[in-house]
């Protein structure tokens, strides 16, 4: 009997498919944006975790500010070796390293490309968790001898060496030949969505000699805090040292807390904007659904009268109409979640937020759409249930 009941109900919704579809559409839109918000918030959290994971939860990264020029080619580097040395003396700092980044033209054969070239101290490579796959990493002799050697990622191998082992082969960086001595294991995409396997690293002395002669200036400093030390106190000490010689916008500190705050602010503003949009869509869809059910009452009044004549009670009519709305709500939640997941797939990468498909958003969707549908259908359902059976029968259009 339950099967026949459901068949009867769905047959009705399909028969008046234009109106059912219209009612469904509003819910789908509202739910899709709701699912998108949940995914964006969860994706931002994941992004924060990934960045922190890469950086290390015990790490303080101090970077020179881009200032008004947002370009890796001309970064006004205000950090100095003096800062580096002083930060190393802070109580609780376990280790301190530094590195440089510059965008350069890299060429081999007839192929060239603008790529990030990084100057690393031995500690920085280790710090960021690079592991050797082919060849080796830098040795102390490379640092002493200003060796023109580089370690590259797999994308470089694919682009410049057709995926073949490049050890011993050369790359031209700014017209200077460098020998590839190692390839690091694949690292995948960064939280910003860029490949982390398209990087070229060289020892810091080599970088200073051939790429950028900035001996006293640094692009970034990485400090590791010992587990016993008070992390916040160390951050304050770092700031004190920097603020003695720098303006606050000459540098910025990246700590797990800053990353979390920034990404939660980003997801919160996204959440507010889309939250308003989705609630508006759900409100409008509720209004549309309510009116569609009122129109249905006019068109099917005779049918409601017939069902009453055949024995349906007022309550059974009320429940029937609320169930019709619920079917629309469930279908809307399902399709809305699918549409939301589709938007997550295509839009989140544009926002550089990792793609996540939060399954719990389906339950949020069901809850919202059911609430909207039941509230919207309540009044039409009451109206239908209260119809006088005989009068309703006579209202056949």
């Amino acid at each position: 009997m339950a099967r026949f009941y459901l068949h009867d109900l769905i047959a009705f919704l399909l028969f008046y498919k234009g109106r059912s579809l219209f009612a469904l559409l509003g819910i789908v839109l509202g739910i899709a944006s709701l699912v998108f918000i949940v995914a964006a918030i969860e994706g931002s959290r994941l992004k924060a975790d990934r960045i922190i994971g890469m950086l290390g939860s015990d790490t303080i990264l101090i970077r020179s500010s881009f200032g008004s020029r947002i370009s890796f080619r001309h970064i006004p580097m205000k950090l100095t070796m003096e800062h580096y040395r002083k930060i190393g003396t802070i109580e609780g700092v376990r280790s301190v390293d530094y590195f440089y980044v510059k965008k350069m033209i890299v060429a081999r054969g007839g192929f060239s490309k603008h790529l990030m070239v990084e100057g690393f101290t031995p500690g920085t490579l280790e710090h960021f968790g690079y592991e050797s796959e082919w060849g080796r990493f830098f040795q102390s002799k490379d640092f002493k001898n200003f060796a023109k050697v580089v370690v590259v990622g797999h994308d470089i191998v694919d682009e410049f060496f057709s995926g073949k082992n490049p050890i011993g082969k050369t790359l031209l960086i700014g017209k200077i030949p460098f020998r590839v001595i190692g390839v690091y294991k694949r690292k995948g995409k960064s939280p910003r969505g860029t490949s982390m396997d398209e990087r070229i690293m060289m020892p810091v002395p080599t970088y200073r000699k051939f790429i950028q002669a900035e001996y006293g200036k640094l692009f970034a400093i990485v400090a590791k805090v010992s587990p016993q030390a008070d992390y916040d106190r160390v951050v304050d000490d770092v700031k004190n040292i920097l603020n003695r010689t720098l303006k606050p916008d000459d540098y910025f500190l990246i700590t797990p807390e800053v990353i979390r705050k920034f990404l939660s602010m980003l997801s919160a503003s996204l959440g507010i904007f889309l939250g308003i949009a989705s609630l508006t869509a759900l409100f409008v869809s509720g209004f549309v659904l309510s009116n569609i059910f009122l129109i249905n009452n006019r068109i099917r009044a005779w049918e409601i009268g017939l069902r009453r004549a055949l024995g349906a009670t007022k309550r059974q009519i009320l429940v029937r109409i609320l169930l019709e709305a619920s079917v629309i709500a469930i279908a809307g939640a399902f399709l809305g979640t699918l549409a939301g997941f589709a938007s997550v797939k295509y839009i989140l990468p544009l926002l550089q937020i990792p793609v996540v498909y939060p399954l719990e958003s389906f339950f949020v969707a069901i809850l919202f759409s059911m609430t909207v549908a039941l509230v919207a259908a309540w009044s039409p359902a009451k109206e239908a249930a209260a119809m006088d059976p005989l009068e309703a029968l006579r209202r056949r259009l």
Binding site: D8, F15, L306, G311, A312
Partner: protein, 220 residues
């Protein structure tokens, strides 16, 4: 006594104008009778039928069903009576357009505690020579077939009384005769039939004719 009406008055109000459609109707119907309520248009015959079928309530007067006062019954009880004790056949068939013939017949079972199955509906349709039409949609049927589907629907819950409001009004004479034969057979099986018609040919199928004019019974 199955049905007993005492001094039934029914008034309708449209704006400021009040119309008295039934003016003190007294009527008794025994179980197993085939009663034709005959009268011209506007005589009040359909109003009387719907009051008897518990689809409407009288303004005044008493309606006793098996000796029980219908006026004292609540809406759910009346729904229950309509579902299990009564069956309705309307002039306009009232078949639900989005359900098949079989599903239209099954509608009353949705509201019934009686365990009537799909098989019962099929058997009923076969009995009414509609066995080959069970999966048809209403718009694929002729008028006569539609009315036979409506009769099957009225019978699905095995009712004791069938109320038929001008059931042949939209049918040609051959189909009208078929429908009346079916009602006659149902009466012979023991069911009480209350038929409303203006057509003396159809009324002739009944065992008793009640004539009504201007809301009053002329002969019962």
């Amino acid at each position: 006594m199955l049905i007993e009406c005492q001094n039934i008055v029914k008034r309708f109000k449209t704006g400021d104008i009040e119309t008295t459609v039934l003016k003190g109707v007294d009527l008794q119907i025994e179980e197993g009778e085939f009663v034709a309520v005959m009268g011209s248009s506007g005589s009040g015959k359909s109003t009387l039928l719907y009051i008897l079928g518990c689809l409407d309530r009288p303004t005044f007067g008493r309606y006793l069903l098996e000796g029980k006062e219908v006026g004292a019954m609540d809406d759910d009880t009346l729904s229950h009576i309509r579902n299990e004790m009564f069956g309705f056949v309307f002039q306009a068939f009232y078949l639900v357009p989005y359900l098949s013939v079989l599903d239209n017949v099954r509608i009353p079972t949705l509201y019934s505690k009686r365990a009537k199955t799909k098989k019962d509906a099929v058997a009923l349709l076969e009995k009414l020579q509609l066995g080959s039409r069970i999966d048809f949609m209403p718009d694929q049927l002729s008028g006569g077939q539609k009315q036979r589907v409506a009769i099957a629907r009225a019978l699905i819950n095995d009712p004791r009384v069938i109320f038929a409001d001008e059931p042949t009004g939209q049918l040609d004479s051959e189909n009208a005769r078929n429908v009346m034969e079916i009602l006659k057979n149902l009466n012979e099986e023991g069911r009480t039939i209350v038929l409303v018609t203006h057509d003396p040919v159809m009324a002739a199928y009944a065992t008793r004719i009640v004539r009504i004019k201007d809301g009053q019974i002329l002969s019962a």
